[in-house]
């Protein structure tokens, strides 16, 4: 397109240069530094991975590369040179002309980024037409071509669907097509696969990588998943607290990280615990079939046994019925047939008919602590309620117990007066754990509880849960799609697919070959810390 002939697209020329970037964010009535002097250089056709825990400033840098700061943030110092143009010196109109046409952005949640009222195709070509680069017909044709290259099913017609009519992974690829529509020189990917499950993630990663290579587009890939960045990036930059920790070529970085912090990041995925065989069963789910609206069967003849004091990991992709299983056990969704027994007694199907004492003994922790904590209740109110409700604790006794619980989840009592919005993601999840513990339960159902957290926090939470299990001896049903977590904490594994149990057994049995075909597919989709993993996997699947 305009001004981007083959010569200027040549690989190896400098495209983006950020020097001494400082960004501040406004909260609690004052400005806090988010990015504190980061230098970054990107050549044409190069993919740079930005990695770090949440709050490291990686997304902020990604946006700054477009000359943009989120509302409530401001770029205070530094220079951003894009293809020789100083983005900060440019007027807002000038910057807007660049965005979309020469710099594009792919957000974490495609579902939230598409306008639900318009068809995909119209949104894909919108920028092309708005920037006057091509006519609508021509743009539509090239969009279909992009859909094909991104391996979307039915590329001819998928553009006529609305965002809610396509699956999450496909939407993320459509979003990539939208970003690619103007053939930009630079694309910023902000955690594009974080919200997807492993089997879908592989497909999206593969198509993003292909198209970036094909058009020789430079990219900044923001993620907290090391294994993902290892597949995508030529170079990796590790960030922490708004500063660069280290930067190196991907292979070199993976082989020999030089900084202590980087090494701890690398170590997270090596968490593991030996399995302990069951000696007594706490919960027995026998031949349960459940459906929504009586017709859509989500669980079919599911039988699972949960041993006392152990962890059963339930794995499977989204839609496999994992969360429905949790709803059946808690009584939110009475099953159509089958039976559940808990501690030797039959558990009544519906929540309403279960006595308080049973409710106390089965607790649940959710994926999104943001949704699971009432934004208007302080930490103290959240933890105190089960104590008052189940155990009738009052006054000093109650306060002492609250203190103990905060201690158990390794939080200071000074947090008790905070509202959820004033806590970090990991702290919120700790509060949820404390709330579950307050009921003194025998079984805790953990529904994807770490998937919204970054890896370091994830590890802390997992360690906490394991320690609590050793000390208090409760059972966990751990619903997840992350095999690394399963390796880390499970004693037994249940593999689910389309509402049925595919396999079930001790961790060592399930994880050592030979696998059932579906288990094989699930296990092979988990990214490994080897930069050649994706290439190898795709080659083996194509055969």
């Amino acid at each position: 397109m305009k001004g981007s002939g083959p010569a200027s697209r040549e690989k190896g020329k400098d495209l983006l240069q950020i020097r001494n970037l400082h960004v501040e964010g406004f909260s609690d009535e004052r400005w806090h530094p988010i990015v504190r002097g980061v230098d970054l250089a990107l050549k044409r056709g190069e993919v740079l991975g930005l990695i770090g825990e949440s709050g490291a400033g990686k997304s902020t840098i990604g946006l700054a590369a477009m000359g943009y700061a989120k509302p409530g943030c401001r770029i205070t110092r530094g220079s951003i040179l894009f293809d020789g143009i100083d983005l900060l010196a440019l007027s807002e109109t000038g910057r807007r002309r660049l965005r979309g046409s020469r710099i594009a952005y792919v957000a974490q949640s495609a579902a939230a980024s598409f306008n639900p009222a318009h068809r995909l195709l119209d949104q894909t070509v919108e920028t092309v037409v708005a920037h006057g680069i091509a006519s609508r017909e021509k743009a539509n044709r090239s969009a279909v071509d992009l859909y094909r290259r991104l391996q979307l099913p039915d590329p001819e017609t998928i553009g006529f669907r609305y965002p809610h009519q396509v699956a999450g992974g496909q939407l993320q690829r459509a979003m990539t097509a939208m970003a690619m529509a103007c053939r930009p020189d630079l694309i910023v990917f902000d955690e594009p696969t974080t919200a997807l499950d492993v089997t879908t993630q592989v497909e999206v990663l593969a198509s993003i990588r292909n198209i970036v290579e094909e058009f020789n587009t430079a990219a900044i890939y923001v993620t907290h998943d090391l294994a993902v960045v290892a597949q995508m990036a030529d170079r990796i930059m590790v960030l922490r607290h708004g500063l660069t920790v280290e930067e190196a070529e991907t292979r070199q970085m993976l082989a020999s990280p030089s900084q202590e912090y980087t090494k701890t990041l690398w170590a997270v995925r090596k968490l593991a615990k030996p399995e302990v065989p069951a000696d007594e069963y706490l919960l027995t789910i026998d031949n349960v079939t459940a459906a929504y609206a009586r017709t859509v069967k989500v669980l079919q003849n599911v039988s699972i046994k949960v041993p006392r004091g152990r962890t059963v990991a339930v794995v499977g992709e989204s839609g496999s019925g994992k969360s429905t299983l949790a709803r059946v056990v808690t009584g939110l969704l009475p099953p159509l047939s089958g039976s559940i027994s808990f501690a030797g007694q039959a558990l009544s199907k519906a929540l309403k008919t279960r006595p308080k004492e049973i409710l106390r003994r089965i607790q649940m922790i959710y994926q999104m602590p943001d949704n699971a904590l009432n934004p208007r209740q302080t930490v103290e109110e959240v933890i105190a309620r089960p104590l008052e409700f189940y155990l009738g604790l009052k006054g000093a006794q109650r306060d002492r117990r609250i203190g103990e619980l905060m201690h158990m989840v390794e939080m200071s009592e000074t947090y008790l007066d905070r509202l959820p919005a004033e806590l970090s993601g990991g702290q919120k999840q700790r509060v949820c754990i404390a709330r579950a513990l307050a009921a003194d339960p025998e079984l805790i159902i953990c529904d994807e509880i770490t998937s919204a957290l970054d890896q370091i926090v994830q590890e802390e939470i997992l360690k906490l849960l394991m320690r609590l299990q050793r000390e208090l001896g409760m059972s966990y049903i751990f619903i997840t799609h992350d095999i690394a977590i399963v390796r880390a904490i499970a004693d037994e594994i249940v593999v689910m697919h389309q509402g049925k149990v595919v396999e079930q057994g001790l961790k060592s049995e399930i994880l050592t070959p030979p696998h059932a075909p579906y288990t094989e597919r699930l296990l092979s989709s988990v990214p490994e810390m080897d930069p050649d993993w994706l290439t190898r996997l795709l080659a083996s699947r194509r055969m």
């Binding site: 009584g331 409710l359 209740q377 409700f389 201690h407 390794e410 200071s412 009592e413 000074t414 004033e422």
Partner: protein, 294 residues
């Protein structure tokens, strides 16, 4: 394992209601202060009407439609009653009735609306259809019918207007409640075995306050209009009780002679309405984002 060390130490912010209110007031914009002061003034006038007013509420003097003078600061009305006195007593009656009516309509509408949102199913169907029926009849005519059946005492006036108004509140509360009722913290409360009272009052209500408060400001003003309209039709506040709505109507003829006196009660209504909405705006701004994240 000795990792019982808390992960971080932060200063404990003990925030009682009083200190929170104090800091909120300190940060309040001018418009909110203005609104608060005006409302406070109205309340003082209403409460102490008996001591502030120069004459009795229904005391009649010989001269009707008297001009402003030393004796009658704002003149007299069509029957020869002191306007200023009527204005002061009108504050008591009009505001008192409007506050009682709005509060009652919100108590009924919000609690039923949130229950419908929480349980859905048949309870929601029954309540929603009943509300549809009530709303399908023009509310003024319906109020007229009911008032002529039950008589227009102040109590029945309050109950009838509140009931008719609560249909709109119900709809709003149900709509916003539905969004909150699906949140996981509500599910957590249900799994804990909490009853509907706790879930509605502690889990849902605090999270739907902003739209409800906005509606409160608006409804409060509409109640004035309804009362004035009913008074105009002769079934509202009965003479000789003073209320601003009927005072405007009764003395409207004076406007044709270039006298602004009948506009004073109208102005009193307008000023109060604006002030209430200033305060509501401020409240909304302070609560809609938990923290300022502009």
């Amino acid at each position: 394992m000795t990792s019982y060390e808390p992960i971080a130490q932060v200063p404990r912010l003990r925030r009682s209601r009083a200190t929170r209110a104090k800091t909120a007031l300190k940060k309040a914009p001018f418009s909110a202060w203005f609104g608060l002061l005006v409302i406070l003034g109205y309340v003082i006038v209403a409460v102490f009407a008996h001591w502030i007013a120069p004459y009795g509420e229904t005391q009649v003097f010989s001269e009707a439609f008297a001009p402003w003078s030393q004796q009658f600061k704002l003149g007299t009305d069509q029957l020869g009653r002191d306007m200023l006195t009527r204005l002061i007593y009108g504050a008591r009656n009009t505001i008192g009735i409007a506050v009682a009516t709005t509060l009652l309509s919100f108590a009924v509408g919000v609690s039923l609306g949130l229950l419908a949102a929480l349980y859905r199913g048949w309870l929601d169907q029954i309540l929603s259809r009943a509300v549809d029926v009530l709303m399908s009849i023009p509310s003024l005519i319906f109020a007229l019918v009911l008032l002529s059946i039950f008589g227009s005492s102040i109590t029945s006036l309050i109950i009838i207007i509140a009931l008719l108004d609560s249909t709109r509140v119900f709809r709003l509360a149900r709509a916003v409640g539905l969004n909150v009722a699906v949140m996981e913290y509500v599910e957590v409360a249900r799994l804990r075995g909490e009853g509907p009272k706790w879930i509605v009052a502690k889990e849902i209500l605090p999270n739907v306050m902003p739209p409800l408060v906005a509606e409160f400001g608006l409804r409060f003003c509409f109640v004035f209009l309804t009362i004035a309209a009913l008074s105009f039709l002769g079934v509202g506040i009965q003479p000789p009780t003073a209320d601003w709505g009927s005072m405007v109507r009764e003395n409207a003829t004076l406007i044709t002679y270039g006298d602004v006196t009948p506009l004073l009660p109208a102005g009193a209504i307008a000023l109060l309405t604006v002030s209430v909405n200033f305060v509501v705006d401020w409240f909304l701004h302070a609560t809609s984002g938990l923290r300022d994240e502009r």
